[in-house]
Symmetry: C2
Subunit: 392 residues, 2 copies
């Protein structure tokens, strides 16, 4: 196991009606005037925004608001949020929504305290400070409610990039599983897929002897495989929603990823798809993961056989572990299809003729890019193209 | 799933040589003068204490020291520590040792800031404030390095009781698995048993539909079952030590116990044994757990069958799930014996003629006691006696 540090000082208020604690929690963590940042109309229509405002009013917390965050959140709105916060002397950013809203809130929170262009953070500059951030989570997926990460898309060139830093870790996150009961099945399935991806990408490690975190990752994937179909069948299943919501946080706060190398190849390849076609991140991952895993399996067949056997119940073929490994990837693919996820480029709305561009941006798109992807295994631009072709 | 809040803001520095960070971490968390609190001679003999002092000196952190903490730490030394801290204007308590040392450090840290008798906290008073606490962990067991809990034994009447409060959660914990390589096999096994008990007592819940935390608990027990025998066979197996150390923290920081009722019956019954006979806590638990589980199994056979099947690989008997449940308890017992733990009163040095006293203190020993134990199931004093008799 590798040396590591782990620090996850987010306060979680989990369960029914917990959004009523928003005002008190902002006060507890030092806020006086908050930016309420949210996405589409559902936060408004459901009455959630009003309930949060009531809670802030009751505690004497002032607020301004900025709605309209889009999935795959854009840099344009981040600049708008930074300007608003500065003009209004905002000292706390409250995201009300899913991963896109939270990621946008994080970018705003860092940008307000930074003299340069906030995009620097998404080109590799370390996030050192940010306004304190809180979240009211409305979709279990990105894990951004408990993570130090954020992903933003720059309109110019449609570049989607991530940034990271402890200042991005929310001070508190309000997690009420009931808020996710109104999600369309497709969005729920996208969230489940994203959570599974966060787990697989931690599982695919080159570090030896990491049985504790291996077991934890397997546990969380098995929980998702159990609860996922239950919320697709019955969106009102509160307990299934609750299990998914806690698993989504645990999957990405890194307690199951410490002390081991990780693989973020699937996320890298997917970011190009959602940037170019504006598809849901989870849907993109459902198409990307089986292709990436099929291509990289030969790098460590035992690892793929282990997850196949332990998580998906594939019998271990001791004469040919590769058969077990492959069966596991097929089991994952079947599971994702069963909850309504797309299986190939066509179903996703992606196009074969864009593969060269996708691979090029993926390998060379950021200022720090080297033309190769480094993760579980090292991939050249040509290999990335081959993987995209497996998605056809 | 029940509503809950979760807040675990401890910074973990994990891995080789991390004790060198002690001084910098005390500074980071606001300390200027530390109490170095530790147990027996091994911390001194191994050079660990000197390395910690060097690290403090390098950062200009002053210190005083109080060694000699005993397993099942006593109230007498807590009073001594409180007095020392007040006299010396100590503003940070650093525990260097295992659960006993950390628990003693927590009691001192709270006592310094409290006008009354610190024992009030162990009679049910909520811990509201304490000096900041840090730890350098030398045995994976109690999970106190990441928990808000502390257990102290009062010499008068040999009463062993726990206290809890967020102020007890360490600001930082230094976890270097190499420090545990010099532990005798028996102590290592005691630690493993304690970790398994923390997991079982969270598993035994009356809350329905908690699959995510069920799976996490199962995962951590399986990791212990895998790594435990490896450190007994080879004490120098760093990676096995590392896996156990991280599992020990995760088992008790409550991320796998949130939103569900828990059972602390085995801990309650064991505390009487270690208070009366001064046996190692883990050794006591090895004798207590199979007895408690055998007695309470009928309360929820399915739950015991589930852990038997998933963790210990016992075939599910669909005609008679009780057979599976029993097989799981036997598998646990065999495992504990295999790593060198005692299996009954005689091997533990406990006496049949003390059973009435043990049960009486267990059910009526604290000021708030009601004569019954409440956990997975409700137990009368007579039932507690019956359970102790199962340990003969």
């Amino acid at each position: 196991m590798d040396n590591f540090s782990f620090y996850a000082p987010t306060y979680f208020a989990f369960g029914k009606d917990t959004e009523k604690q928003a005002g008190a929690l902002i006060r507890r963590f030092g806020g006086h005037k908050a930016l309420l940042h949210y996405g589409g109309g559902s936060v408004v229509r459901s009455g959630l925004l009003d309930r949060v405002k009531e809670s802030l009013n009751a505690e004497g917390i002032a607020w301004v608001e900025l709605g309209g965050v889009k999935p795959n959140p854009r840099s344009g709105q981040v600049y708008e949020g930074i300007e608003l916060c500065r003009k209004e002397n905002v000292d706390f950013v409250l995201a009300i929504g899913g991963g896109s809203t939270i990621d946008s809130a994080k970018a705003i929170a860092a940008g307000v305290l930074y003299d340069g262009d906030f995009w620097d953070f998404y080109e590799g500059k370390r996030v050192e400070k940010a306004l304190p951030i809180g979240t009211v989570l409305t979709i279990a997926a990105a894990g951004s409610e408990g993570s130090p990460d954020s992903v933003i898309t720059k309109e110019q060139g449609m570049i989607k990039r991530g940034a990271s830093g402890e200042a991005y870790r929310p001070k508190f996150s309000i997690m009420n599983p009931a808020l996710t009961q109104t999600l369309p099945a497709y969005q729920s399935a996208c969230g489940i897929t994203d959570i599974i991806a966060h787990l697989y990408e931690r599982y695919l490690t080159n570090t030896k002897e990491v049985e504790t975190t291996d077991r934890m990752i397997e546990a969380l994937i098995m929980a998702m495989a159990h609860e996922g179909p239950r919320v697709i069948e019955n969106p009102d299943n509160y307990d299934a929603r609750a299990n998914i919501m806690w698993a989504g946080m645990m999957a990405h706060n890194n307690s199951c990823g410490v002390g081991r190398s990780q693989d973020w190849t699937s996320h890298n390849l997917e970011h190009e798809l959602s940037a170019l076609y504006d598809v849901a991140h989870g849907a993109g991952l459902a198409v990307v993961m089986p292709a990436v895993f099929t291509y990289t399996m030969k790098h460590d067949v035992t690892r793929f056989a282990k997850i196949a056997n332990r998580v998906w119940g594939c019998p271990m073929d001791f004469d040919c572990p590769e058969r077990t490994a492959k069966a596991g990837i097929e089991a994952l693919r079947s599971f994702l299809i069963s909850i309504g996820m797309p299986k190939n480029f066509a179903e996703l709305g992606a196009k074969e003729e864009d593969i060269d561009q996708l691979a090029q941006t993926c390998c060379w798109g950021s200022e720090n890019a080297s033309g190769k992807l480094y993760g579980f295994t090292q991939l050249t631009e040509d290999e990335v193209k081959e993987i995209y072709r497996l998605m056809l």
